[in-house]
C-alpha cells in the first residue's frame, strides 16, 4: 500500500457538527425568542456547511493525487489499547468515503436549511437542531472512521440519534414506542455486527494481527479460513439488515416515520439507512472472498426490494409509501453490492439520496400545507396550489421510476443490467428486480396522482393549502437539480459516455463486474428498453386506475379482500414478531424466571429455606435448654431407664 497523506483537517468534518450539537444542546431553552431562534439555526446550519466545504477541499485534494494513491488520513489519538489490541481514533478519506461525505454534508446541509421552515415554532426547536447536528457528526464518524470499531461508534451513534428523532414528539406514546422499536430492532442487528467484529478480531488475532484499521484487515484477510470469512460476512450483514432495514429487520423503518419529516429525509432515506450498503462496500474485500455471503446479500436485497414495493402499493399514508419505497430501493443497492458491483451500489446510494430526500421533503411540504395531514386519500389537486412542491416532486418521481435521463435511470438500470449480466447475477435475480421496478413506478405514480392530480377530496383541507416558504422550496429546487442531473457522472459507456463515478471508486472497491458471457451492447440496449418500458407501464396503469377508472381500485380491493388486507396490513409481520418473540420472552421472564424461579425457588426456597431450617432446628433444640427443671428431670429419668433397660437386655 502507498503511504497515506496526512490531512489533519479531516477531524473537523465530524467535529464541527459536534460543536454545533454542544452549543445548541447545552443552550436548549423552552422559550427561545426570535433572536434565540436565529442563533440556533445559524449555528446548526453553518456546522454541516463548514463540514461540506472541508469535504470539497478533501475531494479536490484527492483528485489531484494519482488514482492509486488517493488516501488522506488523520489520526487524533489512541482510543482503546489493551494488551496487543489497539484501536485509534483516526479518520481517513478515500474516494469511497469522499463520495459519502459529500452526500452526507451536502444533502444534509440542505435538509438543515429546510428544517428552519418546517420546524418553525416548535417547542423543541433547539433540541431538534442539536440532535440533527449530532446525527451528522455521528454519520461522518461512521463514514470517515478508519477502523471497524470507530465505524461501530458512528453506527451506534446514528442509531441513537435516529431513536431520539423518531421519538422527538415523545409525548405521543406511539411515537415514543416507534423510537424504542427502532433502537431495539437495530440492536438485534448490531448484535450480529458486534459478533462479526469480534470474530474478525479473534480470527486475525489468532494469526498475531491486532491492528484493526481497514487497510491492515484488507492486507491480512487471506489469513482467515473461508468458513470464518463467510461467518464474519453474514454477521456483519446482520447489522446491515438492521440499519438498512432489510428483511426480516425492516419493521422499524415504516414506524420511524413518526419523526419530523426532514428527519425521515435525512436519516431514514438519504444517509443513515444507507450505512449498511456503505459498510458492505467498505468491507468488500471480505465479501468477495465468500460466494455464499455475496449470494445471501444479493438475494436478501432482491426479495426485500420486491416485497417492500408491494406493500407500498396499498399504503395511504404519504410517508409510509415513501418508507416502504426506501426499504425497496435499499434492496436494489444490496443487490448491487451482493453481485460485486460496488460502484453501482454506491452510485444508486448517491442518486437515491437526492431523489428520496427530495420526495420526503416534498411530502413534508405537502403536510406543512395540509395541517400535518398524511392520508393521500384526503388530498388531490394540489399541483396548482403548490407549484414548486409539485414540480420538484415530479422530478424526483420520474427519477425513482427510472425514466431517462433522470438520475435514477442511470443508477437503477446499471444495477438491473449487472444483475443479469455479471457472473454473480442471474436471470432470476434480474427478473425480481425488473418486476420490482414496475411496482415502484406504479406506487410512485399512484402517490403523485392521488396527491397532486384530480379533484381535491377534502375541500376544507384543500382551501387552507398553500405553497411553503422559500426556506423550504429553495432546498427542494436544489435537490431537484441534483436528482435530475447527478446521474450523468455515472452514465454507462455503452451510451458513448464516460462513467466517471466508477473510475473514481475503482481503486477502492474494484471495477464493475462486466458481463463476461452475455453482455454485448445490443443486449444492454434491449435491457435498457425493458427497464424503461416496464416503468412506463407501471405509470400508465396507475394513471388509468387512479385518474380514469377510479372505481376499479375499490372493486379490486373488495374482490380480493383477503389479499388486499394481507398487503394493507403489511403481511402482519409486526403481529407475527409480537407473537413469536416479544410476548413469549416477556412471559418467560416475568412468570417463569422472576415470579417462580427467582422469588419462589431461589429466594424463598433455597435462601430463606436455609434460614428457616436453622430457625426451626434452633426452635426444637432450644427446648433442651430452656431451664425447665421438670423436663430436665423427666429427661434424666427417661435416660436412666433407657440405660437400665439396655443393660438388662444385654
Amino acid at each position: 500500500m502507498e503511504e497515506a497523506i496526512v490531512f489533519s483537517y479531516i477531524r473537523w468534518i465530524p467535529l464541527l457538527p459536534l460543536i454545533g450539537f454542544l452549543i445548541n444542546g447545552l443552550g436548549a431553552r423552552a422559550e427561545l425568542g426570535p433572536a434565540g431562534t436565529q442563533r440556533v439555526h445559524w449555528v446548526a446550519c453553518l456546522a454541516p456547511f463548514g463540514s461540506f466545504l472541508i469535504s470539497v477541499v478533501a475531494f479536490t485534494k484527492l483528485l489531484g493525487l494519482p488514482a492509486e494513491g488517493r488516501l488522506l488520513t488523520d489520526t487524533v489519538f489512541t482510543w482503546i489499547a489493551s494488551g496487543e489490541f489497539t484501536a485509534n481514533l483516526s479518520f481517513s478519506i478515500d474516494p469511497l468515503s469522499s463520495v459519502m461525505t459529500l452526500v452526507v454534508t451536502g444533502v444534509g446541509f440542505l435538509i438543515h436549511v429546510y428544517s428552519i421552515g418546517y420546524m418553525h415554532g416548535d417547542k423543541g426547536y433547539s433540541r431538534y437542531f442539536a440532535y440533527l447536528n449530532l446525527f451528522t457528526a455521528m454519520m461522518l464518524v461512521l463514514v470517515l472512521g478508519d477502523n471497524l470499531l470507530l465505524m461501530f461508534l458512528g453506527w451506534e451513534g446514528v442509531g441513537l440519534c435516529s431513536y431520539f428523532l423518531i421519538g422527538f414528539w415523545y409525548e405521543d406514546p406511539e411515537k415514543a414506542y416507534a423510537g424504542l422499536k427502532a433502537f431495539v430492532v437495530n440492536r438485534i442487528g448490531d448484535f450480529g455486527f458486534l459478533l462479526g467484529l469480534f470474530l474478525l478480531f479473534w480470527g486475525l488475532g489468532q494469526n498475531g494481527i491486532w491492528t484493526i484499521d481497514f487497510g491492515s484487515i484488507q492486507e491480512h484477510v487471506h489469513l482467515l479460513s473461508p468458513a470464518i470469512i463467510t461467518a464474519i460476512c453474514l454477521l456483519l450483514f446482520m447489522g446491515a439488515m438492521g440499519k438498512s432495514a432489510q428483511i426480516p429487520l425492516y419493521v422499524w423503518l415504516p414506524d420511524a416515520m413518526a419523526g419530523p419529516t426532514p428527519v425521515s429525509a435525512l436519516i431514514h432515506a438519504a444517509t443513515m439507512v444507507t450505512a449498511g450498503v456503505y459498510m458492505v462496500a467498505r468491507m468488500h474485500f471480505l465479501f468477495v472472498a465468500s460466494d455464499l455471503a455475496m449470494q445471501w446479500v444479493a438475494w436478501t436485497g432482491a426479495i426485500t426490494a420486491l416485497f417492500a414495493a408491494t406493500i407500498g402499493i396499498c399504503q395511504n399514508d404519504i410517508k409510509k409509501v415513501l418508507a416502504y419505497s426506501t426499504v425497496s430501493q435499499l434492496g436494489y443497492m444490496f443487490v448491487a453490492v451482493g453481485i460485486g458491483a460496488y460502484a453501482a451500489g454506491i452510485f444508486h446510494l448517491m442518486t437515491h439520496a437526492f431523489f428520496k430526500a427530495l420526495l420526503f421533503l416534498g411530502a413534508g411540504s405537502v403536510m406543512h400545507a395540509m395541517g400535518n395531514e398524511t392520508d393521500i386519500q384526503k388530498m388531490g389537486g394540489l399541483r396548482k396550489k403548490m407549484p414548486w412542491t409539485f414540480w420538484t416532486f415530479m422530478v424526483a418521481t420520474v427519477a425513482i421510476c427510472g425514466i431517462p435521463p433522470f438520475s435514477g435511470f442511470f443508477s437503477k438500470d446499471e444495477i438491473l443490467w449487472l444483475a443479469y449480466s455479471s457472473h454473480h447475477g442471474s436471470t432470476a435475480l434480474w427478473l425480481v428486480l425488473w418486476i420490482g421496478a414496475a411496482v415502484t413506478a406504479f406506487y410512485m405514480a399512484r402517490l403523485v396522482f392521488l396527491t397532486f392530480f384530480g379533484e381535491p377530496r377534502d375541500h376544507h383541507l384543500h382551501d387552507h393549502a398553500h405553497e411553503s416558504p422559500a426556506v423550504m422550496t429553495v432546498p427542494l429546487a436544489l435537490l431537484a437539480v441534483g436528482a435530475a442531473l447527478v446521474g450523468f457522472v455515472g452514465a454507462p459507456a455503452s451510451l458513448g459516455l464516460t462513467n466517471h463515478f466508477e473510475h473514481f471508486l475503482e481503486p477502492v472497491v474494484g471495477a464493475l463486474p462486466h458481463g463476461d458471457h452475455h453482455g454485448s451492447h445490443a443486449t444492454e440496449y434491449i435491457f435498457m428498453g425493458l427497464s424503461v418500458a416496464v416503468a412506463a407501464a407501471g405509470i400508465l396503469l396507475a394513471w388509468w386506475l387512479y385518474l380514469r377508472a377510479k372505481e376499479v381500485p375499490k372493486i379490486m380491493a373488495r374482490k380480493y379482500a383477503r389479499l388486499y388486507d394481507l398487503v394493507y396490513n403489511k403481511y402482519y409481520v409486526d403481529e407475527i414478531y409480537d407473537a413469536l418473540f416479544v410476548r413469549p420472552i416477556r412471559n418467560l421472564s416475568e412468570k417463569l424466571l422472576w415470579k417462580i424461579f427467582d422469588e419462589k425457588f431461589i429466594d424463598n426456597g433455597l435462601v430463606n429455606g436455609t434460614a428457616r431450617f436453622f430457625q426451626r432446628s434452633a426452635q426444637s433444640l432450644r427446648r433442651i435448654q430452656v431451664g425447665d427443671v421438670q423436663s430436665y428431670a423427666f429427661a434424666m429419668v427417661v435416660g436412666i431407664l433407657a440405660i437400665i433397660g439396655f443393660l438388662l437386655l444385654q
Binding site: 436548549a28 423552552a30 489519538f77 489512541t78 482510543w79 482503546i80 489499547a81 489493551s82 494488551g83 496487543e84 489490541f85 470499531l149 461501530f152 461508534l153 451506534e156 451513534g157 441513537l160 431513536y163 421519538g167 415523545y170 409525548e171 405521543d172 406514546p173 415514543a176 414506542y177 423510537g179 424504542l180 433502537f183 431495539v184 440492536r187 438485534i188 448490531d190 448484535f191 458486534l194 459478533l195 469480534f198 470474530l199 478480531f201 479473534w202 488475532g205 420472552i585 416477556r586 418467560l588 421472564s589 416475568e590 424466571l593 422472576w594 427467582d598 431461589i602 429466594d603 433455597l606 435462601v607 434460614a611
Partner: protein, 531 residues
C-alpha cells in the same frame, strides 16, 4: 506534609474515620447542617488527596505495588498493618473516594432523621471500604471486610424503606455466612504457610508463595469464592441484592452497588484467583457459565420489574456477570475490561440510584407505572437520566462500551461460544433500560402528581455533572485509566497463569484437617496459650 506523603494511603483510609470521630464527639444531633458539611468536606478532602495518589502512581514502574506502608501490629502472629496500591486497586480506590462526597451531597435533603448517626455510618463505611481495597495483609483485609457490614446494616435497617429490617438482616446474615467460610480458609492457608516456611504471616505476598495440593486448593478456593460470589453477587447468590437495594436509602444503594459489590469482584482479583491459580483454572468453566447465566438471566428478570430500583438491582446482576466473565477468561483484554467495568458500574449504577432517589424524593414512589411523561416536567433531569441510561447499555463513546467491548474481546479469545452468549446481553440491556425509560419519561404527562414536579436544583445538578464527566472521559479517552493498570494486569496474569508458576516445593499430599490440627498446636505453643 511529609507525614502525609509518607503515609498517603493510611491518611486516605483513616481520614473518614477521623471525620466520624469528630462528628461523634463535637457535634450534637440537632446540628444537622454542620454534620452534613463536616462529612461532605471530609469526603471531598479525601477525594482531593487521592488525586495525589492517582497522579503519583507510576504506571511504567516494574514495581506494580506502590505507596506500600508496613507497620507491625502483632508481628509475632504475622499481623502487620500493610497497605499498598497497584494499578487495579488504584482505579477502584479512586472510584470510592470520588463517589464519597457525591453520595453525601445527593442525600442532603433526603435524610432528615438521625442525621448524625447516618453520616457517622457513611464515614465509617468509607474507611472500611478504602481499607479493604488497599490491604495487603489478609488479617487486615478481613477486619475491613467485616467492618463494612456493620454500618451498611444500620444504613439499611434504620434509614431504609418499610421492609428494611428483613432486608438488613438478610444482607447481613447472607454475606456473613460467606465471610466465615473465608475466615476458615484464611486460617488454613496461614497454617500451611507456617508449615512450609516456618514463620507466621498473613502477608498476601507470603501467602502467594504457599504451595497447595489441588484437593485442598479447590476447597480453599471455594470457601473464598463463595464469600466473594455472594458479595458480587453472582447468580444464583443474588437474591439478597434486590431486597437490600429496594429498602436501602439512596446513599446506601449507591454505595452498595457502586462500591460494596466491587469488593466481591476485587476479592476474586486480589485473593481467590492469584492465591489459588490451579483451582481457578479448574473452576473456570463453572464460574464462566454462571457469569453468562447471570448476564442473560439478570437482564431478562430486570426487564419485567415494575419497580425501577429493583430493575436497576437486577441489571447489576447482569453487569457484574460481565465483570466476572472478564476476570475468569484470564487475558489482558478480559481483565482490563473487567476492572474498567467495575468502575463503570460504580459510576453508571451509582448515578442510576441517585436519579431514582431524586424522583423518589419528589414522588415517593418508584413504580414505573406511576410515572410517564416526566421528560416534559423535568427536562434537565431527563437529559441526565438519558445519558446515564445510555452509559449503562454500553453505547460506544460512553464508558460502558469500553468495558463491555474489552470483556467480550477477551471472552472471544477464550471461548467463542461464551462470547456469543454474553454478547446477547447488549440487546437485552437496551430493551430493559430503554423500555423503562420510555414508560417513565415519555408518553403523555397524564398523572396530576407528575405535572407539578420541580426540575433539578443546583445541588442535584452538582451531584450528577461530575459523574457525567467521568462517563464521557472513560468513553472517549479510556487510556488515562487503562494505562495505569497495564503492568499490574500483566503481573496478575503471570501470577495466575498455569505455565509460568512452577511448583516451589515437591508435591506433598496432605489432608485438610491434619495440617490444621498440627499447625494449631504450633500456634498455641507460640504464646497464645489456652487459658
Amino acid at each position: 506534609m511529609e507525614i502525609i506523603n509518607q503515609h498517603l494511603i493510611s491518611v486516605l483510609v483513616f481520614l473518614p474515620l477521623a471525620g466520624a470521630l469528630f462528628v461523634l464527639l463535637f457535634l450534637r444531633g440537632s446540628q444537622k447542617e454542620a454534620v452534613r458539611w463536616v462529612t461532605f468536606l471530609t469526603m471531598l478532602a479525601g477525594f482531593v488527596i487521592s488525586l495525589k495518589l492517582f497522579l503519583g502512581y507510576d504506571a511504567d514502574s516494574t514495581q506494580t505495588m506502590q505507596f506500600i506502608e508496613s507497620t507491625p501490629w502483632l508481628p509475632e502472629y504475622g499481623i502487620v498493618f500493610k497497605v499498598g496500591i497497584d494499578g487495579m486497586s488504584l482505579l477502584l480506590f479512586m472510584m470510592t473516594t470520588f463517589l464519597g462526597p457525591l453520595v453525601i451531597l445527593s442525600s442532603w435533603r433526603s435524610i432528615e432523621d438521625r442525621v448524625k448517626g447516618f453520616h457517622v455510618c457513611m464515614l465509617l463505611l468509607q474507611t472500611a471500604m478504602l481499607g479493604a481495597f488497599v490491604s495487603l495483609n489478609l488479617f487486615l483485609f478481613y477486619i475491613f471486610w467485616e467492618a463494612m457490614l456493620i454500618p451498611m446494616y444500620f444504613i439499611i435497617g434504620i434509614w431504609g424503606g418499610p421492609r428494611r429490617i428483613y432486608a438488613a438482616v438478610k444482607f447481613f446474615l447472607y454475606t456473613l455466612f460467606g465471610s466465615l467460610l473465608m475466615l476458615v480458609a484464611i486460617l488454613y492457608l496461614y497454617f500451611v504457610h507456617v508449615k512450609q516456611f516456618g514463620f507466621y504471616s498473613f502477608d498476601l505476598f507470603d501467602l502467594y508463595r504457599v504451595h497447595l495440593a489441588l484437593g485442598p486448593e479447590k476447597l480453599l478456593f471455594l470457601a473464598f469464592a463463595l464469600s466473594f460470589a455472594i458479595k458480587v453477587p453472582m447468580f444464583p447468590f443474588h437474591t439478597w441484592l434486590p431486597d437490600a437495594h429496594v429498602e436501602a436509602p439512596t446513599a446506601g444503594s449507591v454505595i452498595l452497588a457502586g462500591v460494596l459489590l466491587k469488593m466481591g469482584t476485587y476479592g476474586f482479583l486480589r485473593f481467590s484467583m492469584p492465591l489459588f491459580p490451579a483451582a481457578t483454572e479448574y473452576f473456570y468453566p463453572l464460574i464462566a457459565v454462571l457469569a453468562v447465566i447471570g448476564i442473560i438471566y439478570g437482564a431478562l428478570v430486570a426487564m419485567v420489574q415494575p419497580d425501577v430500583k429493583k430493575l436497576v438491582a437486577y441489571s447489576s446482576v447482569s453487569h457484574l456477570g460481565f465483570v466476572m466473565l472478564g476476570l475468569v477468561v484470564l487475558n489482558v483484554q478480559g481483565v482490563e475490561g473487567s476492572v474498567i467495568q467495575m468502575v463503570n458500574h460504580g459510576l453508571s449504577t451509582g448515578a442510576l440510584f441517585i436519579i431514582v432517589g431524586m424522583i423518589y424524593d419528589r414522588r415517593h414512589t418508584r413504580l414505573i407505572a406511576d410515572f410517564g411523561g416526566i421528560s416534559k416536567s423535568m427536562p434537565i433531569f431527563a437529559t441526565f437520566f438519558m445519558i446515564v441510561t445510555l452509559s449503562s447499555i454500553g453505547l460506544p463513546g460512553l464508558n460502558g462500551f469500553v468495558g463491555e467491548f474489552l470483556i467480550l474481546l477477551g471472552a472471544f479469545k477464550k471461548s467463542v461460544v461464551l462470547g456469543v452468549l454474553a454478547a446477547s446481553g447488549v440487546i437485552l440491556a437496551a430493551v430493559y433500560m430503554l423500555w423503562m425509560f420510555k414508560r417513565a419519561m415519555f408518553g403523555p404527562l397524564d398523572k396530576e402528581e407528575n405535572k407539578s414536579l420541580k426540575d433539578l436544583d443546583p445541588r442535584e445538578i452538582a451531584v450528577l455533572v461530575p459523574i457525567i464527566v467521568m462517563i464521557l472521559w472513560i468513553g472517549i479517552y479510556p487510556q488515562t485509566f487503562l494505562r495505569k493498570m497495564d503492568r499490574s494486569v500483566e503481573g496478575f496474569l503471570t501470577r495466575t497463569g498455569q505455565n509460568t508458576a512452577p511448583p516451589v516445593q515437591p508435591l506433598e499430599r496432605e489432608s485438610l484437617f491434619m495440617t490444621e490440627s498440627i499447625s494449631v498446636q504450633d500456634f498455641g505453643g507460640q504464646g497464645h496459650g489456652n487459658r
